[in-house]
Amino acid sequence: MEPLGWGAIFWQVFLQFTPVWIALALIFVVSIRFKRRLNLYGRLFDSPVGMLGLALVLFWIMTAIMADLVAMYPALDQFSGMKNARPGAFLPGGDDQAFLFGGDNLGRDVFSRMVYGSQTVLAIAPVATIFAFMVGITLGLPAGYYAGRIDTVLSFLANLVLAFPVILLFYLLVTPEMRDTPIPTVLAGVLFVFPVIFLVTLYYSRYQARPDVLWKYLLAVLVPGLYLYLGLAYGLVPLGPLEMTPNILNIFVAVVFVNSPTVFRIVRGLALDIKTRDYVSAAQTRGEGPWYIMLWEILPNVRGPLIVDFCLRLGYTTILLGTLGFFGLGVSPESPDWGMTINEGRRLLSIYPHPALPPALALITLVLGLNLLADGLREQSLKD
């Protein structure tokens, strides 16, 4: 069969994303309908930049969720005769499904790999960023609130981590030799305990005086929290689909480790500012404990800048994951991770540019979307 022309390819790609378009349209229609009741998220729909950002991000989220519907072939399957096939080429077997973006040097479908690659990025980046935020917040709040010696020590440590070249740090943390040392486990043990500490303190500080409510919250946090902690950090309990390979765990730890000092500094700065407000003094004069003040009086009021930073940091993490993959430090060698795919395609770039371009464009659009989303959120949150 004749390979498809470019027009036909794009039309086919468009059709292939049909489930994603439907989901996007649904989300936008519902959101715009109720935007007046949705606070900051709703106001995002007043800003063209924010909407564009949100659309790009949602596009990739939906693609990741519905990858099995969108992709045409499994990510790892190799097809003989499709090695470095041109975009739009058909399988020799006479199947009517073309390789829309061609085949790579192992005869795998570039389009499907790009679609599945979104899963790797979107599985690691948000969770790792949330963890980094938990660590940053849990340490940044006391540093800003107490100031003094705690602040000096913690800021010094943060600066120390920030002063380390990121890529070198990654090489150190992610190399196979490192995996044999106890360092990643120890780091994971330290970093993963923060979300549990964070949530326990959050509820304990608030419901201290009301044990009847408190134990429900603590139970709801501690049982799954400790289970996940033991499973993720030490592999002591089975986790099923949540199980992380040592490789992914290392990436995860590395990303959290690198991101949390920056979050720490942002939170610390914001806390320094907010703690001078009268409502903080009011909380102090009615005898609130320091953690209640930090988590319930200060934290909710710094959410604006933190949400914006979250989006930006997500983009940064996405690039970081791409970089890691590019250096071959990423997930398993065969996985459709975007960074790794770009690296593989790089070697034949001058002859066959098509395997490297789709993942690169995917990476660009996702990060661009996150940055635009952050811009939109910032713009709208300042309009109060």
Binding site: A209, Y279, R286
Partner: protein, 697 residues
């Protein structure tokens, strides 16, 4: 200078209307505003926040931003219509003929540039002067605004100067180009009273020297009286009354103007016999203005079908000089009639001693370097403070910023612990127990009302949740349901509808937020409430209502109130006893009558003379203090006030510089910390005198 030889009016504004265009549509900010400023005349614009007075100023400067537009009328500067000028012409005009001074001096100064260079820019750019000449003019100007050591000031960066000095520099900068029109937008609001008095004095003198016309924007009627020749009272975007100071102050012909004067504590007001009369209701939002008279819904003289039937034009008041009022019924209203006042509040007998503070001291140790130690310095924030406060009594603590009144409050509330001394609430020690170590009852029994209504409530929690949380912390009520009920009752107490429990703080006005703050402070049956300038950030018409509420609750619950303030008018109105602080020391203490009549401590004397009083019959002696308040890091030797004291010369020798005077009780009953001999104290004359004895409404 040619540009000063101009005899026609400097500024003529005719039927000016300014609107802002937002997503919600057109919002009129100023409607049908007219005024004329003659050469050398000072015109005051008075009104509450949101009344459009600053918009008028920005309109004159043609700085309305991209949303604002002049939709009607004209602004003529020396006969030329400003809206017809090109951007280039306007720019030349702004720098050299019209200058503007803002509230916050640091907002007008470039923090990265030395004062000298900033001042020199004006002649360099506008007059194409040489560097040396520019420097000389700058030096002259700094001298003209009476800053000490002008050479040093020119070489300083803005942050090296105090707030008052910065504002003087801003004034100097504005006057550099010898403008014909000076616009001052609340120029002294950010300053302390005694510093404010100095700046006002300076503005007055300079205007006279240079013949500059002024547009003076303020919410403070007392200041306007001191500075201006004429004034225009604005309400919700309109001028409601305009005329000369005497006409408007003594023969006001608009209910809003009258309401304003009745809601500020003038000499003669008294919280039991002649309480303030608050203006009911709330300032309308620009897009919710009523039909007809904007003030209608809040006016006692409102006549349905007439006042809300048509737009109200202005009427000239015959016989007066350009005195106009925007009231349909101005000829029918009996302007001399006494307002209805809430009577029945009998004077309260103070009860037992509730709070006893004895020789309380609070020193901070400040190290030069946090991590490696370094030279340690001691800041004496509170030095040997002793006083007693009785049940149901209001004790005012008066002083300017840095006098230690906030530190005292912090120690009492347990946010800091005292370095030495005692503070007992009943038999509970407060001085050395941090609030976290206090039991719930003690915590609830001493609470605070904060100054800034926009800061006192956490924007992220609902109003009800914040009060309920306070109840929970004070150990009041059994269980969530009971606390919910008590929370709603507290809302009743502060006269807010119960629906407010579910509202977020941003949905409340400043006055309403302050009421919630009061509800929260009284949630734990407080025995002592520390009120830190609770109404100073509120609009004048709301202040009286909140003050009333606070005293009502205090009276009913027989709570002791420590009223921290720098506003002596309010203190005189509210307080039973007064404590004056300066640089950590109590310099005078006594009953309100004792403190407000001679003999005074020299600092009290200066404070009293600095407070602007909005009453034309008041004769005030003027004492302008030299210099700035010294830093607590580096206090002067001997008497803390000796560096600025105007009566230091009357003390023989260098006693003031050597020794801290003891707090001695005078025959009149008040105690002062001063070396002045008894006969000098006896000869002191009152600072404030009422010309007539007849009291006015």
């Amino acid at each position: 200078m040619a540009k000063w030889d101009y005899d026609a009016p400097i500024l003529e504004i005719e039927n000016l209307s300014i609107s802002f265009f937002t997503r919600a549509g057109e919002i009129p900010a100023v409607m049908d505003f007219s005024c004329t400023v003659e050469r050398g005349e000072a015109m005051g614009l008075v009104g509450e926040s949101g009344c459009g007075k600053s918009t008028v100023a920005l309109g004159v400067m043609q700085y309305l931003g991209k949303n604002g537009r002049i939709v009607g009328g004209s602004i003529k500067y020396k006969g030329r219509d400003l809206s017809l000028m090109s951007q280039e012409e306007l720019r030349r005009l702004r720098g050299s003929e019209i200058a503007m001074i803002y509230q916050e001096p640091m907002a007008s100064l470039n923090p990265a540039m030395k004062i000298g260079r900033q001042l020199m820019e004006v002649p360099l750019i506008h007059e194409k002067a040489g560097r040396r000449e520019a420097r000389r003019t700058a030096l002259e100007m700094v001298e003209a605004v009476r800053l000490p050591d002008p050479e040093r000031v020119l070489d300083a960066y803005p942050h090296q100067l105090s707030g008052g000095q910065q504002q003087r520099i801003v004034i100097a900068m504005a006057l550099m180009s010898k403008p014909s029109l000076l616009i001052l937008d609340e120029p002294t609001t950010a300053l302390d009273v005694t510093v404010e008095a100095g700046v006002v004095d300076l503005v007055n003198a300079l205007a006279e020297d240079f013949g500059t016309s002024m547009l003076f924007i303020s919410h403070n009627l007392g200041l306007v009286l001191e500075v201006c020749d004429r004034l225009s009272v604005m309400y919700s975007g309109e001028t409601v009354e305009t005329g000369s100071i005497e006409d408007v102050f003594d023969r006001m012909r608009h209910p809003y103007t009258q309401g304003l004067f009745r809601s500020i504590p003038l000499p003669g007001a008294d919280k039991t016999a002649r309480p303030l009369v608050a203006i009911p209701g709330q300032f309308p939002l620009p897009h919710e203005r009523p039909p007809g008279c904007n003030f209608g819904p809040r006016c006692n003289h409102f006549q349905p079908g007439r006042c809300d039937a048509q737009e109200v034009p202005t009427f000239p008041v015959p016989g007066d000089d350009r005195h106009e009022t925007r009231c349909l019924r101005w000829q029918e209203i009996d302007w001399e009639a006494e307002p209805e006042r809430d009577k029945g509040a009998a004077a309260i007998e103070p009860g037992e001693i509730v709070l006893k503070v004895d020789d309380l001291r609070k020193y901070y140790e400040v190290a030069a370097n946090r991590m490696f130690g370094g030279e340690k310095r001691v800041v004496k924030a509170n030095e040997s403070i002793s006083f007693e406060a009785r049940e149901a009594e209001t004790l005012a603590i008066v002083g300017e910023s840095g006098c230690g009144k906030s530190t005292l409050a912090k120690v009492l509330l347990g946010l800091e612990t005292a370095s030495a001394g005692k503070a007992d609430l009943g038999d509970v020690d407060l001085a050395h127990v941090e609030v976290e170590d206090r039991d719930a009852r003690t915590v609830g029994s001493i609470q605070m009302v904060f100054q800034n209504p926009f800061d006192t409530l956490n924007p992220s929690h609902s109003v009800g949740a914040q009060i309920t949380r306070a109840l929970e912390k004070f150990g009041v009520g059994d269980g969530p349901e009971d606390r919910e009920r008590r929370m709603l009752e507290l809302l009743d107490v502060v006269k807010l509808p119960r629906e407010f429990a579910r509202r977020m703080p941003r949905q409340l006005s400043g006055g309403q937020k302050q009421r919630i703050g009061i509800a929260r402070a009284f949630a734990g049956d407080a025995r002592v409430v520390v009120a830190d300038e609770p109404v100073s950030a509120l609009d004048v018409s709301v202040q009286a209502a909140v003050t009333d509420l606070l005293t009502d609750i205090q009276r009913q619950r027989r709570t002791t109130m420590l009223f921290i303030s720098h506003d002596l008018s309010v203190v005189r109105y509210l307080a039973d006893r007064v404590l004056v602080m300066y640089l950590g020391h109590v310099v005078e203490i006594g009953t309100t009558d004792q403190v407000f009549s001679p003999p005074y401590h020299p600092y009290t004397e200066a404070l009293l003379s600095a407070v602007p009083i909005a009453d034309t019959r008041v004769k005030q002696r003027h004492i302008v203090l030299e210099g700035e308040i010294p830093s607590a890091m580096n206090p002067p030797s001997g008497c803390p006030f000796q560096t600025r004291c105007h009566r230091k010369v009357e003390v023989p020798g260098d006693l003031c510089e050597r020794e801290v005077p003891p707090l001695r009780t005078l025959p009149t009953g008040n105690a002062v910390k001063c070396h002045l001999a008894q006969d000098i104290l006896d000869r002191m004359e009152p600072v404030i005198e009422l010309a007539g004895t007849t009291e006015r409404a």
